[in-house]
Symmetry: C2
Subunit: 251 residues, 2 copies
């Protein structure tokens, strides 16, 4: 890849032990790193030293992307830094849109470097809640009308997907999680497990397993990820388990 490239890099959940060598190399090569301050704080310090850093606040995603694109166009290798995976509710899409809008798709080499997404980090800590078919839904209605979110949630619960709730409870719209859980409660047993992971693989990590009946939604916030089981999910030794369907002892 030429010097003037744009990388969109996934840090994984946050701990340097979860950062892939590929992501580390891209961050090392970049001369300019752009990202939400909380994510730049997760970059190992030796990869920040001597770099141009562009930290923009929450909801300033386009500004971040434009700054990185401008740097790459000006001949600098730039990286947009995301937590988790850059393709899951992160900046890979917006970066591509900014390149497209500015007719730079053919001029700026663009590479997405995948990372361990929050859903896999949370699942690992909970046990094995996914294993089978699952759906990821963000409860943020900033960019998506609630009726679309609600339709997806209802469809996913109805078709018995394990449901992963991103951005479960913001201060601005704390009531949406209650609505989402009502949709689940109408379609799952009260003892259906609900896993909550907060700050996975970061200081202050919290991992708890609940049931739909006893889960208190005030436990969740925007640093949490919630996994609601399918009708086959259960709790095993304090962990959350969705069997794949093997009949044990048959082989």
């Amino acid at each position: 890849m030429s010097a003037a490239s744009l990388y969109v890099v996934g840090l994984g959940p946050g701990d340097a032990a979860c950062l892939t060598p590929q992501a580390r190399e891209a961050l090392g090569r970049a001369r300019c790193l752009a990202g939400y301050q909380l994510y730049l704080d997760l970059v190992p310090p030796e990869l920040l030293a001597g770099k141009r850093l562009i930290a923009t606040g929450m909801r300033r995603e386009e500004e971040r992307c434009v700054a990185a694109v401008e740097a790459a166009r000006a001949g600098q290798c730039a990286a947009l830094v995301c937590s988790g995976d850059p393709g899951v509710y992160a900046l890979a899409g917006l970066a591509l849109e900014v390149l497209e809008t500015r007719n730079l798709l053919d001029d700026v080499p663009f590479q997405v470097v995948p990372g361990v997404p929050a859903v896999c980090a949370a699942a690992a800590l909970l046990g094995a809640p996914l294993t089978h078919d699952f759906a990821c839904v963000s409860l943020s209605d900033l960019l998506t009308p609630w009726r679309v979110i609600e339709k997806r949630l209802a469809a996913a619960f109805e078709a018995d997907f394990v449901c992963v709730l991103y951005n479960p409870r913001s201060r601005g719209r704390p009531h949406l999680l209650g609505r989402a859980l009502s949709l689940a409660r109408a379609r799952r047993r009260p003892d259906c497990p609900v896993g909550l992971v907060r700050k996975a693989f970061r200081p202050g990590q919290e991992v708890t397993v609940h049931t739909l009946a006893d889960f208190e939604e005030t436990r969740a916030d925007m640093l949490s990820l919630l996994i609601v089981g399918s009708s086959h999910s259960r709790i095993a030794g304090g962990r959350m388990l969705t069997p794949r369907g093997y009949i044990l002892g048959r082989s």
Copy 2:
């Protein structure tokens, strides 16, 4: 963690550049590695040297898990090796079930080490096909009745999820992909993008972007992953893009 532990480790898509330091450390600590031969072949050779290796064939998943559990119970640190992430259509669940069936949940320390899942590896190579809500469905009907798979596909397409198809086309049931695509074609425009990634980040990697109208299902096999866009997905500069919904230029 004590010496006698059971790890379920995600290698990521295959290239050592995608292996997290955490996974490398767990593989280094293990004295016994169990896995499908194709996955053991992806482990860096220096992590295999001097270890007890248990390679079982396809569909011998329980045997693999039992062997690893027995090794851990006998006092050896054991690792079950999965490609991608161990919680996504892999062995984290079955390992937990084997521990549960043998009443070993309290006796054998158990840890899932997440990896970059195939869906994120494929998405990174395609551009930004996920970005928004998505559902993962395996087309393998070995452990799940086709009517359940069909219900999930229909629900996911209907609710406008980006749909990720795992195990899209086996030699034993090549016709299932056609049925899945029919469900998509009934609910998406003909120009809806379809991304196909084969052997992501491995020798022989293939990445192609099609439309629902022109996609030829014989291109897919069990080493492929297929991503069918939502109604908002489109092709941008040969890449697949699902916008998150930002209105560009507003900020």
